[in-house]
């Protein structure tokens, strides 16, 4: 895993601090070419891994990578699934079963398809596998060193105590896709305990890590202690706490933190990407 990973929130109008900024981003990245241009800037600056949700628009990013294999020979994507709002909005309108029917590929009603059987017999692991396959489809022929489960899904399963599904997910990613399964969470200490109990050693986890303890459930002290124990490989996200901490101060904290393997950040301009990368490199050395 590279030290610096590039995120995608800015492309999809995700801004945890301002709805107004969200809209400005939605306008800036209306066309896929604007996304691809920023990703080129990222690649040229020496960051070669893009961590992104399985948003529909990522499909065009993947098309671009496949069309220019030489240019992007070292370009890697870490997919994070699912793009939760797609499902959440669908559930409000269609209900849970209606949503599954909409998003599981093939004729779900057909009793002899894998999906039809899984739904009819309440085979939840098979359903999970079908949904994973559907989300991963767009990344065909692209280097994906790891595949992550989004925090809403990880934390929902964690809260519900459906630990077996979390473990089954990890096993499926490893067996079928032969890559590292990862989990995004807002509850690192709790998740790590559950994964270890499920037999997953040294898991790959992406979680909020920042100086002010923003979205670090269980508290910053417990997080720091957990990191020191080196029981998991950690990607730090939300290191700027949605912009609440000045960049230098934020990076000084996270770069010196023992137990953080990689740092994830997003930016909309070349200068911002270059500055942040230089700062992380300098503070990490």
């Amino acid at each position: 895993m590279e030290r610096i990973l590039f995120g995608d929130n800015q492309f999809f109008a995700v801004n945890h601090l301002s709805d107004e900024k969200s809209r400005a981003q939605a306008i800036k990245f209306k066309d896929n070419s604007a996304i691809i241009k920023v990703l080129d800037d990222m690649y040229d600056s020496g960051i070669h891994t893009f961590m992104c949700t399985t948003h529909d628009r990522i499909a065009s990013v993947c098309d671009n990578l496949r069309s220019n294999p030489e240019k992007y020979s070292d370009f890697k994507i870490i997919p994070c699934m699912p793009y939760a709002h797609k499902y959440a909005n669908a559930v409000t309108e269609l209900g849970i079963i209606g949503t599954l029917k909409q998003y599981i590929p093939g004729n779900i009603i057909g009793a002899f398809t894998k999906g039809g059987l899984a739904l009819a017999t309440n085979d939840y692991v098979s359903l999970m596998e079908l949904l994973v396959d559907a989300e991963i489809k767009m990344f065909k022929c692209i280097q994906t060193p790891a595949i992550f489960l989004q925090n809403v899904m990880t934390d929902l399963l964690l809260g519900l105590g459906m630990n077996d599904i979390l473990v089954a997910y990890a096993k499926y990613i490893k067996d079928k896709y032969k890559v590292d399964p990862g989990f995004i969470t807002m509850n690192l200490p709790l998740l790590l305990d559950v994964l270890e109990k499920g037999g997953i050693e040294n898991p790959l986890i992406c979680c909020s890590i920042n100086k002010i303890g923003f979205r670090m459930s269980g508290g910053i002290e417990l997080y720091e202690r957990t990191l020191k124990e080196k029981r998991c490989r950690v990607i730090a996200m939300q290191v700027f706490a949605a912009g609440a901490i000045p960049p230098k101060e934020a990076l000084e904290y996270v770069c010196k933190l023992d137990g953080v393997q990689s740092i994830l950040f997003g930016a909309s301009s070349k200068s911002h990407i270059v500055q942040t990368k230089e700062l992380i490199d300098k503070l990490s050395s």
């Binding site: 709805d19 849970i96 923003f214």
Partner: protein, 339 residues
Amino acid sequence: MINSAIIGLGKMGLSHCAIINAHKDANLVAVCDTSSFMLNALKKYSGMACYTDYKKMLDENKLDCLFVASPTKYHAEMVKYALERNISVFCEKPFALKIEDAEELVKIVDEKKLVNQVGYHNRFLGTFNYLKQLIDKNLLGEIYHFTGEAYGPVVLKEKGGTWRSNSSEGGGCLYDYASHVLNLISFLVGTPNQAIGSILKRIYSKQVDDAVYSNLIMDNGLSGQLIVNWSDETYRKMSTQITVLGKKGKVVCDATECKIYLKEDCKEENLTKGWNIKYVTDLTEPVDFYLRGEEYSSQIDYFIKHVIAKNTDNVNSFKTAYETDKVIDMIKANAGRLS
């Protein structure tokens, strides 16, 4: 440790289920739903007792509290059944479809002294609470107008098949989306007693409103506008915004930031003349278990603490939700029919 149960495993019910189950002071002993799909999943993986008959669930388990997240039309009978068995209740919003039912439930909790809360989660957001403090401290001077808005991408096409597409079951934008805004308005500036020029607009739905527009008037002459639309795909998720205009300043507040414009400095609050911005990161208390926004965890933690302490002096009470139900009815009556 208290014992709790949930009725309804839709989007809100599942979310509550995860948050309660992860809470250190509450046992989630039983769940009830009519869909075998979710019920079997919980039975298989989470080990909770599963029911399809809520009465049976309440009769067979010794519960301290119940979470009701069923379709709105069932709220009243379920809440009543629980209250009669001396079980404290957290009910999803909107509270009840019939005003008489809401009134009766308020009366019962008053008599029985049971903790009662409704899931208007915006009330647990740091930004809106901060705005309330500014208003209470009279920082904005005499308030003369407000705007309450909410937008989101729920119904974007001409189809739909859940209870939310049926107004007699509590569906539609007024019940689902606008109720949040109306509840916030009551919390911040008071409850309107008149609605004029109200429009319930169908955009894609055949039977329910997809947008709500209304002019709201208070006793003291304060006026405001309600603008809510759940068929707006320029929003990634529900976005709620309140603007309050006073003689000494103005505030524009949403879930992520509170923008304050003041005509003069205010040293006590550390605010200066002109624009000041407070972000949710400065105003949010951390939670023990995070799922989808601090407010969802906070409201449940708050309810559980009140149940343990047997403290019925809580925010988002049935009574305040009943006030919101009354405003919903008022707008419906004023609009007359779907436009």
